[in-house]
Every structure is written in structure tokens, then in C-alpha cells.
């Protein structure tokens, strides 16, 4: 009973603290997904060219190559007259790229010699580079068409020049973009859980020592275990709230992201996000226990922030580990808290089937680790040194 009284007091107390509320309700659930998801999508957009999108290309001497212009038009590229000073216009960013058709283009083409074309591009500008990649790709197709026509004209099979036929068969379920995006999801969940409980845990343990309000509290007729469990329960509430909000914001945010550029298979629809949240949920008690136990050792909020700051590496560790070493989900990795959730959450949004054994191992492993941490926290609160 007294555990719940402590819990409610800590919740009310910390809801009045702007810093705690900011980190629990805004930073983890909203800002972090926006920042990370937003920048990822922006960079994907940079890499991906949409050939169906109609674009306009500035061309010098368009009248010298009517067939080429027609071909470009058929590939969704409209053309317009280039400005006076071509190089300046590209450098200043007025035109992304300019295609210059030389005066003897038509002549060279007729004679069967290489026909000179100049593509003016500004490689220090990402948009210009991207536009150039699209034009280059289209021009390559045009070149191949002309080449094979010439060969056929001379009675040679164009395939003679294709000595190798390389077929790349991508057997992964999803594109690389999707894989990266999927690995961001557990990262977002875990970070927002940590940030959600971070300041409450520090305030309720180290903060209470610092304010010297712990001494009168512990001289009341209640057990120290119910004090520490009340503080733990309050942390759990904040972490839970923070992770639910994160699930909602991930679901909402990814509505606005163009799915096709993420490589098909990765899904952030209702069922996938719910599945991911449920798989991550054993981390709620685990991370809360971790926060409470670490900050119970510390004497001041400053010390607690330092210790927990170092601890922040732990939620990030599996992320980098999985980026650098391709650790497969296995029964051996499943009992490990954090690592197993990273793997399971990735699978959840990639739509992979997850063996029940893995789920059971992950939940059990995480809960056992939680119990050990809580036992340590309770022991720490029995120490007389707590009041030093």
C-alpha cells in the first residue's frame, strides 16, 4: 500500500518538473523520431531517382538534335532553352544541370563518329548531382539504342559485345534502406524509454538524498523496500507512458513518409508497430530497474547524471554491434536484454516470422535481469551508508 503512495507522490512531484516532462513526453517520443526518421528519409530521397517524375532540362542548341530531344521527352524530361551564361547558371544553382549539344553533333552522328555532348553539372550541389545521374542514365539508354542500331545496320549481332550477362539476384526481403530503417525502430524505442525514466529515477533517488529528504522519509513506519519499489513503480509509469507515446508517434510520423523509397518490405502500419511495441515492452520494467539501481548508488543528481550518461551507451551498443557485425537472431542471443529486442523489433517491422521460442526466451531473459537489478536496488536501500 505504502508503495503506491510513494509512487503517486513521485509521479505528481515529477509531473511538476519541466525537465522531466520534456524528456519523457517530448524528447524521446516526438523529437527523436522526427530528427532521426526525418534525416534518414531526406537522405533516401537524395539517393533515389524517380524516373516517372516529369522534370525540365535546360538545353543549349536543342534544334541540333531533335531525335534526342524527343527521346528525352519520352523519358519524362521536358526541355527548355538554356540561359546565356551556362556555367554561371549551374554554379549559382539557377539551373541544376545544362545539356550542351555541340554544333557538329548532327554531323558526327551522321558520320558514325562519337557525337560530342557536354553535361554541365555542379558536383558540390547534391541536387545537381542527382539531376545529372538521371540525365546520364537516360543518355546511356539512348547511346545503347544508337549503338545497337549501328551494329545491326552493319549486320552484326549487338549481343556480340555483351560478353558477360550479370544478373544480380537480391534475395533479402527488403532493400538496404528498409534494413537501416528497421534497425532505427528499436533504437528509438529504447532511447525514449531511457529518456522517459531518466530524470524521474535520478530525482527520486539521488535527488532525494541531495535534498536530504530521505532521512525523515526512512524514519517513518514503513519498510525501505516499499520506498524503493514505489520509486521503481513511478519510473515504470513514466517509461511506459514514454514508450506508448513513441509507438503512437512512430505510427503517425511514418504515415507521412513515402513508403516506396524505403525499399518495399519494411512496414510501420498499425499491426507492425503494435507487434514491435509488445516485443519491446519487457524492456519497460528492465530499463526502469536499471535506472533506479544505478541512481541508487549515487549521492547527488550530478553524479547520477554522469553514471547514467555513461550507461546511455548500453542502449546504443546493440545498434552499432548489429550494424558492424551481422549477428543473426539465434536462441543464444535471445535471452540478452536489449540485444534480443533489437533483433525482434527489426524482424517485426520487416515482416519476418518470429519463432515463439525466441519471444519466450527474450521475455524470460529480460524479466530475470529485471528481478536481479531490483534485488540489488532493494539491497542498496538497506545500507546505512545511504544516509551519508
Amino acid at each position: 500500500m505504502s508503495m503506491f503512495i510513494v509512487m503517486f507522490k513521485e509521479i505528481i512531484d515529477n509531473l511538476r518538473d519541466r525537465q522531466t516532462v520534456f524528456y519523457a513526453l517530448l524528447f524521446g517520443p516526438v523529437l527523436l523520431p522526427l530528427l532521426i526518421g526525418g534525416s534518414l528519409v531526406a537522405s533516401f530521397k537524395q539517393m533515389t531517382i524517380d524516373f516517372d517524375e516529369v522534370t525540365t532540362l535546360s538545353v543549349v542548341n536543342a534544334n541540333k538534335a531533335p531525335t534526342l530531344i524527343e527521346f528525352l521527352y519520352s523519358k519524362n524530361i521536358d526541355t527548355k532553352e538554356a540561359p546565356e551564361n551556362v556555367e554561371l547558371s549551374v554554379r549559382e544553382g539557377e539551373s541544376l544541370v545544362v545539356l550542351e549539344i555541340s554544333d557538329d553533333y548532327a554531323h558526327a552522328l551522321r558520320n558514325g563518329t562519337p557525337a560530342p555532348l557536354t553535361l554541365h553539372v555542379n558536383n558540390s550541389d547534391k541536387d545537381s548531382t542527382k539531376a545529372a545521374r538521371r540525365i546520364n542514365a537516360v543518355l546511356n539508354v539512348y547511346e545503347q539504342t544508337i549503338s545497337s542500331l549501328r551494329l545491326q545496320h552493319r549486320g552484326i549481332d549487338p549481343t556480340t559485345f555483351d560478353s558477360l550477362n550479370i544478373i544480380q539476384n537480391d534475395v533479402s526481403n527488403e532493400g538496404a534502406n528498409g534494413q537501416l530503417l528497421a534497425s532505427i525502430l528499436p533504437f528509438l524505442f529504447i532511447m525514449s524509454m531511457v529518456m522517459g525514466g531518466f530524470y524521474l529515477a535520478i530525482d527520486a533517488t539521488a535527488g532525494e538524498r541531495e535534498r536530504q529528504s530521505l532521512e525523515p522519509l526512512l524514519s517513518l513506519p514503513l519498510s525501505r523496500t516499499s520506498v524503493v519499489m514505489g520509486k521503481y513503480a513511478a519510473t515504470v509509469c513514466f517509461v511506459l507512458l514514454s514508450s506508448v507515446l513513441t509507438a503512437i508517434s512512430i505510427y503517425t510520423l511514418f504515415r507521412f513518409f513515402p513508403m516506396e523509397i524505403m525499399g518495399g518490405q519494411v512496414r510501420f502500419d498499425g499491426p507492425s508497430v503494435t507487434r514491435a511495441f509488445l516485443l519491446a515492452s519487457p524492456l519497460i520494467p528492465f530499463i526502469s530497474a536499471m535506472l533506479i539501481t544505478i541512481s541508487a548508488i549515487t549521492r547527488s543528481t550530478k553524479q547520477a547524471q554522469t553514471y547514467l550518461g555513461i550507461l546511455m551507451v548500453i542502449p546504443m551498443a546493440p545498434f552499432f554491434l548489429l550494424q558492424f557485425f551481422n549477428i543473426r537472431s539465434s536462441t543464444a542471443s535471445m535471452p540478452l536484454p536489449m540485444l534480443s529486442q533489437y533483433q525482434l523489433l527489426e524482424s517485426a517491422v520487416l515482416g519476418d516470422t518470429i519463432p515463439w521460442l525466441h519471444v519466450v526466451l527474450s521475455v524470460t531473459g529480460t524479466l530475470i535481469a529485471t528481478a536481479i537489478l531490483l534485488f540489488v536496488a532493494a539491497k542498496l536501500y538497506q545500507r546505512e551508508k545511504l544516509l551519508d
Binding site: S2, V6, E215, L220, L387
Partner: protein, 262 residues
Amino acid sequence: MIIAKQLQRSFKRPGASRLKAKSEQYVHAVKSVSFSAQDGRITGLLGPNGAGKSTTLRMLATLIKPESGSATIDGHNVATDVLQVRNHLGFMPHNAGIYPRLTARENIHYYARLCGLDRKNSKQRTGELIEQLEMLTFADRRANGFSQGQKTKVALARALVHRPQTIMLDEPTNGLDVMATRGLREIIRNLAVQGHCILFSSHIMQEVAALCDHIAIITDGTVVMEDSLNGILQHTGQHDLEDAFVHATQSLSNEGIAGDNE
């Protein structure tokens, strides 16, 4: 009622090397504390800074365990009967230690609930204390900007919330102005008149002389003398408590030297 017999407690010196002798590794904060505090009386625990007052009070409040000796609060042993002791004891440590983001009322209400009062009784008891300690003007403000006097009142109200028979106050007048000190003395006297046993620790002679019916002088972890103010003055042959205090503490160090010579 508090009865302390031969309480003893030492602490490990921070950063002490294990290679040194045991006596050097440990600080004897409390060597031998014996005294009694009766109901309906204000007992003063008088001693300089570092004499062991706070450690003694912490042992009595069951926060730390004595290494040897024993103490009872209203008949309950502080080492074994922890919850009963806490039920009978209201303890106000020397720092108010109230929650700055809660109002005065919420601070008191929280302790009332933790002491096992139900919601209704907690509310009622909190209201009573707010009236009794004249806190109405600031009861519903957050404790953030409270003056020291206001903080002390909140802390005192929290210590009284479960109607304990025995009340221990660790240097309660620290940082209070004259008016606040007077007000607090009045409150403490009233509590004694109501039959509570009050233990009051202080290093200020005038304060103890003005307020206490019974005085225990503690120095260097030992209670050297315990009597009424008049008794102490007579016993030491001095005219005021300050001289008596110096006399009493010197007699201890003389004994100590004599002891070493033997």
C-alpha cells in the same frame, strides 16, 4: 520516553587504508551515550558540533544500528522493534528535507498517508496541523520559495503527523530568526505540556537553558553529565550553563588523561 544505555557506534573513515590499525580505520562517533528523556518534559542534548548528537538521534530513529548498548522508545527496542519505534517516534532531522515541488499541505499529507492514515483522516490531520502550527497563509503554496521558518514548520508538522508520543528534533532552530525561534519554542513547550516526550538537540547554550527541563551534555561521543539545569549548575559549582558546560567537558578530558596514565 527515551532510555539510552551505553550506546556506541563507529564509522569507517572515508578512504582509510586497510593496512592501518583498526583503531585508525574507524571513527568513534558515539562512544558511550546513556541518558533518559521523560514524558511531559523537554530534554536537551547539548554538545558542540561533531560531538555525536546527530548519530545518537539517528540510532534512536532506527536509521542506523548501534554497535553495542541499547535504547528504547516508549518501551520498544530501537534495534529489534523497528516499526513499533517508528510508530511512536516523530523525528525531525536537522535539515527540513521537504519536497520543493509539493505544497506545504501535500508534503504533510504525503507523510500522513505513509504513516498509514487513510485519505480522509490524512486530510483532516493535515488540516489540524496547519492550523495548530499557524501555517494557513502558506499551506497551499509550493515549498520552493519557503523561508527557513516556514520549512521548519512543515518539517515539524510532518514529524507530528502520526501523533507520536516521543518527538526528536535535531537542531530545529538552525537558521531561524528571533520571532520564528520564539514561535517554535512555544510550540515545543505546548507539546511537552500535552504530555509528549521531547528530545531536542542543540549546540546553543542559551537555547537549551531557556527551553529544556532536563539536559544531557554530550562531548566527544560521550554523555558526561545529565541533570536539570539547576542540578548541573550545582554539580559543577558554576553560575551559567556555558561555564558548567566547559567544566563538564574538561573534567572528561582530565579523566581521559588520568586514564591514559594508569
